[in-house]
Point group: none
Chain length 224, copies 2
DNA sequence: ATCTGGGTAAACACAATATGAAGAAATCGT
DNA sequence: ACGATTTCTTCATATTGTGTTTACCCAGAT
């Protein structure tokens, strides 16, 4: 699967330059022009790496970082700061706010790419993270691709994991089949109607029959 | 609350220019550089207005518009198209695809702002009364397909939910049986006279007998 | 008394899921 | 590159909950 990188910078030129380079390297790139949009986008796409400009109007990079770190679903995301050289106070403050790296700009594309690669490699390693976010007896660690159910860690196949992940992300919310298809399978893929049911059944047999509630004519929900 | 505007354009300069002006006017601005990102962002932030560039690589504005119009949660969002002057075919196609306005670029900020204001004023009247307010002890979250009654979240069957949703949307207004049929069942479906009663009965037994008032010879209303 | 419009419980029909099995399609190990 | 294994999808059939109808009730108006 393509690694997802989120770029947040108020300067469109930077977005374009860096974004282009990342795309050339095969990353899936998302961009936002301000902090809030960045956070929203991060929640939406759950990127593997977020590159944050420190200096932005309204909400600066530090603040964005803090919010990301406070979000259960994103707290493990790797964050790199991007800022003008010689603002060395930034370095300290940035790492303190929970950043994983600090990149001075202007930066040569080659250099940036190797930094990005290194960061992603690092995040790829199973960084030990107990990750105590339990909902209805199930906790998920997206980065490790693992599910803990009743203290047992189990590894689900990709589709099952992603389906569980989706439903689990908002317990009690009913996801329509359409929702599920577009989130788990993607908008363009066409699969039969019964496919979702089958995956639900797998999850039910592995995690408990009544954790997944059918809402006829609408979809499924996780929990209560 | 700040009005939310989503800008979708593949040209970062345009995003910046328009975005900046909108922000100065006090709008909450979100931007996306391509159609898919725009749709994702729209689903995330549920904007009041979406400004769509017609010409974009991969997915053009028309297509984005169609997808938005097909999304239950977004279908009522106001959409304005933005495109180069003299592509007059666009105007027709755009409005046909469900656009609410059409803006030729280049456009002077002043002009754009007044258009935006006008559009939002218009949308303000009709709907955009989204989330989470309680009416007579009942609140509805359409996105989650859930109803909260006395603090209890419950999931109703589809038809019951839609019926409640309709009546609840305008408490005190009497909906005729015809109203109800066309909104909940659709104009072409033919059902017997007692069908609506039965669903009202179900709702009454689940949410309280006196929340739904019968108006003999006319229809039903929700609340006082 | 009769008529009109709605209330209600129970029966019914059917589309929507559940489910087992089997056929594709990836993925893995060698 | 190959078969072995796992995962994903489709298919056929059983099952179920929802939506609808039915049948009969009641109340108020005529």
């Amino acid at each position: 699967m393509k690694k997802k990188v989120l770029l947040v910078d108020d300067e469109p030129d930077i977005l374009e330059l860096i974004g282009y380079n990342l795309q050339m390297e095969g990353y899936e790139v998302h961009t936002a022009l301000n902090g809030q949009a960045g956070i929203d986008l991060a929640r939406e796409v759950n990127p593997d790496l977020i590159i944050l400009d420190v200096m932005m109007p309204e909400m600066d990079g530090m603040e964005v970082c803090s919010i990301i770190r406070a979000d259960d679903n994103l707290k493990d995301t790797t964050i790199a700061f991007l800022t003008a050289r010689n603002e060395d106070y930034s370095q300290v403050a940035g790492l303190e706010a929970g950043g994983d790296d600090y990149i001075a700009k202007p930066v040569k594309p080659k250099v940036l790419m190797s930094r990005v690669k290194a960061l992603l490699r690092r995040s790829n390693r199973t960084e030990s993270k107990p990750h105590q976010n339990e909902r209805f007896g199930v906790s998920i660690d997206r980065k490790r691709f693992s599910v803990i159910y009743n203290g047992q860690e189990l590894t689900l196949p990709k589709k099952e994991f992603e389906l569980l992940n989706l439903l689990w992300s908002e317990p009690g919310r009913v996801f329509t089949r359409e929702n599920i298809l577009s989130e788990v399978w993607g908008n363009d893929v066409v699969v039969g109607d019964r496919t979702i049911d089958v995956h639900i059944r797998k999850l039910r047999s592995k995690l408990g029959e009544d954790l997944f509630v059918t809402v006829k004519g609408v979809g499924y929900k996780f929990g209560s």
